[in-house]
Amino acid sequence: MNWSWDHAYAVLPQLLKGLVITIEATIVASLIAYVLGLAIAILKMSKSKSMRVSLYWITEFIRRTPILVQLYVVFYVLPDFGIFLEAFTCGVIVLGVHFSTYTSEVFRAGIDNVSKGQWEAAKSLNYNPYQAWKYVILPQAIPPMIPPLANYLITMFKETPLLAFITVVELFRAADQYSNSYYTYLEPMTLVGVFFLLVSIPSAMIAMKLEKKFKPIKVAR
């Protein structure tokens, strides 16, 4: 089968619309992942052992099961309990929660990375905990976290096609719809691949620049 530019041009507007949804989903999901990840990281430092242990197993359960199945669970099961969410909302929540278990490790490593002496120094300056976090700890903890967090953003971007299977018309589903109506997989699917490469390779380059600039912490994934 040969490449047909007619199909390629015809599918392009739909794909661009899909790309916008894909990027929206990535941004919303990453915001959830960052905020929730920070919350998990802080809660995992809690003094209560039962809290730490239960959080450990909850995050491990989320990390060790496939996103696709988690998407199905939220999408198909919640309506049984009378909770009706839009497919897009379901998708970004699942993606965000899934990756918050990864970003929490970044936050934890970043905070651990600040040496104990800094806390003592803040104390000796008579800073209260708020001042200590704001002026001493976070300014040192955040820059090394930026590269790994940026990498997770790219990873999330590449996981968004899974939302297609809970009916979100993002880039991948837009192509699939076209393929199904015109019986041509070659052009739409190739273009989807090209779009992914076009977005993620430059993003990966930016992430690499960030790594050079900030000297990232090493996180065991």
């Binding site: 089968m1 359960f61 990390r63 060790r64 099961t65 496939p66 996103i67 696709l68 199945v69 988690q70 199905y72 669970v73 198909y76 099961v77 049984d80 590449k158 996981e159 968004t160 096609p161 899974l162 299977f165 991948f172 393929s179 997989y185 070659l186 699917m189 190739t190 989807v192 691949g193 992914f196 490469l197 993620s200 390779i201 990966a204 090493k218 996180v219 065991a220 994934r221």
Partner: protein, 222 residues
């Protein structure tokens, strides 16, 4: 719940398919990791460039898209794979790209004086990597490989979308046949969790075996 468990022969078959995909995918990924990872440090520029193109291609686009490309688009060029093969190739090639970075990083992490020592022993380039560098690099790779193995296992769920009857596919069948939603997915989530936990344990044991008597750093260390 009993209605779902009545489907246990299917669930067991699905579990076996998922484990098969994981094991075969892991073998493909491991081979590719070493080939691509070592190509990245080859003295020949053409080989290095080819490895980078492979890496960027498979890391840059989504695994799902790669899988659909292999299963639905390649047949249009006359290249046919059955679903399992397509799934294994897609999972293996995708995870192999990430694994190659682990191989490269670990090989580069071996101290410079080890290279000098091999030179002092008059080892050829092949002997140097075979007997000195790679044996020391492997313990460094293992924790990363362990994490990638879990990612690979999770990726196999996507294979259900190209008609492979793995656990996820079985859960969908049960959902349609029984009109239950929570139970089938709950069952397979637990099965996935158990498989992953067993894999984590196995990798821990391998890591212990390889680091015996050696003072090695792990990927988490500085």
């Amino acid at each position: 719940m009993n209605e779902v468990l009545a489907f246990y022969p299917m669930l067991i078959d699905g579990t076996i398919v998922t484990i098969q995909l994981t094991v075969l995918g892991a073998i493909v990924a491991l081979v590719i990791s070493f080939i691509v990872g070592l190509s990245r440090i080859s003295p020949y520029k053409s080989i290095r460039v080819a490895a980078i193109i492979y890496l960027e291609f498979f890391r840059g686009s989504s695994a799902l898209v790669q899988m659909f490309f292999i299963y639905f688009v390649l047949p249009m060029w006359g290249i046919y794979f059955d679903a399992i093969t397509a799934g294994v190739i897609a999972c293996g090639c995708n995870v192999g790209a990430y694994g190659s970075e682990a191989v490269r990083g670990a090989v580069l992490a071996v101290d410079k004086d080890q290279h000098e020592a091999s030179k002092a022993l008059n080892y050829s380039n092949y002997e140097k990597y075979r007997y000195v560098i790679i044996p020391q690099a492997i313990p460094i790779m293992i924790p990363t490989f362990g994490n990638l193995l879990i990612e690979l296992m999770k990726l196999t769920a996507v294979c259900s979308l190209i008609t492979i009857t793995d656990l996820t596919f079985v859960a969908q069948i049960i959902r349609v046949q029984t009109a239950l939603t929570l139970e089938p997915f709950l069952v397979i989530l637990v099965v996935y969790f158990i498989i992953a936990s067993v894999l984590v344990k196995i990798v821990d044991l391998i890591a212990k075996k390889f680091s015996k008597g050696r003072n090695v750093m792990t990927a988490g260390d500085k």
